[in-house]
Symmetry: C2
Subunit: 195 residues, 2 copies
Amino acid sequence: MSATTATTTRAPKEPRNGVNTPVLLATINAVKETPALGKFQFRATNRWVDGTYSESRVESFSGAGGEHVHQSDFRYAADHPAVLVGQDRGPTPIEFLLHGLAACITAGIGNIAAVRGVTLTSVESRVEGDIDLAGILGLSSTVRNGYERIRISFTIAGDAPPEKLREIVEQSRARSAVFDVLTNGVPVDVTVNTR
Amino acid sequence: MSATTATTTRAPKEPRNGVNTPVLLATINAVKETPALGKFQFRATNRWVDGTYSESRVESFSGAGGEHVHQSDFRYAADHPAVLVGQDRGPTPIEFLLHGLAACITAGIGNIAAVRGVTLTSVESRVEGDIDLAGILGLSSTVRNGYERIRISFTIAGDAPPEKLREIVEQSRARSAVFDVLTNGVPVDVTVNTR
């Protein structure tokens, strides 16, 4: 039995895992036909409050040929913990990268499983990042500022053999936007205005 | 007047900007004397709910020679927006990178200004990331999956000349953990368990 036959048998074009698979496939086709629809810009604004504490808002983005406003007022705090002389009113900024990584690969797992006709029962992950603060504290010229290594471990269950479940995770990793940015880096331009 | 004189005049070792400057400087000295204290591990766990929606918890970390639990139960959702066939129950995972970047450089600005004896009145930033979804949708072999470019713009005000305020932002950028990870990348290990 070929993979194609197996896929067809499992009705990949029906909604599954909470994914509207027909709409997902139609969206991919729309971007294929009109590449400009795939150009997105995501945004956040941040406001310093005091010490190491600040708050961000994630309100709008552009893409699919237009401007969009998120349906909720997404606000996030960040701070340093007490051992780093903050007040722990939010996670440290770098902890949000771990959430982004786990959530990105997990979202892809949901979509890819649906397209492949696999019904998932659970996807859990744990992500860890090692960092030596000698970098950001300016105590070493050889220790980097950021994470030295990140590890993410998935535990996945669904109505497919282990090998097929592993392939879904691997395909999601291979197409993850956050995984790409974290592993390959991205140019960041910083500008400063004073008032 | 040298920079050192100016700094001394402005009593850098007193708390300022909500930063306990003496404790911050003592912490840096402690890590300098005992480098093992600077080794940290940050963590998150994530649980898929349905579709592209998942939730992360940021609960504990190790560092400064011990284990620590955040004082609050930090939970974050992520989803895809409707135009990407999600339900917009949270920002997209990659939007959290923008929050992390802004918050990281901003936290450093608060600390560095305090050490330099500068009282800040406001720090605001706007961050944007450009992404072409032809990558993650598998429609192109040349378009990358992640952001092609990120721009962050700070507007800062305080009791120092514009040039000194700019230097504070630049020093924070140069020592930012998130800026380092986003621009230089980090190795990410992915493991998969099935059940």
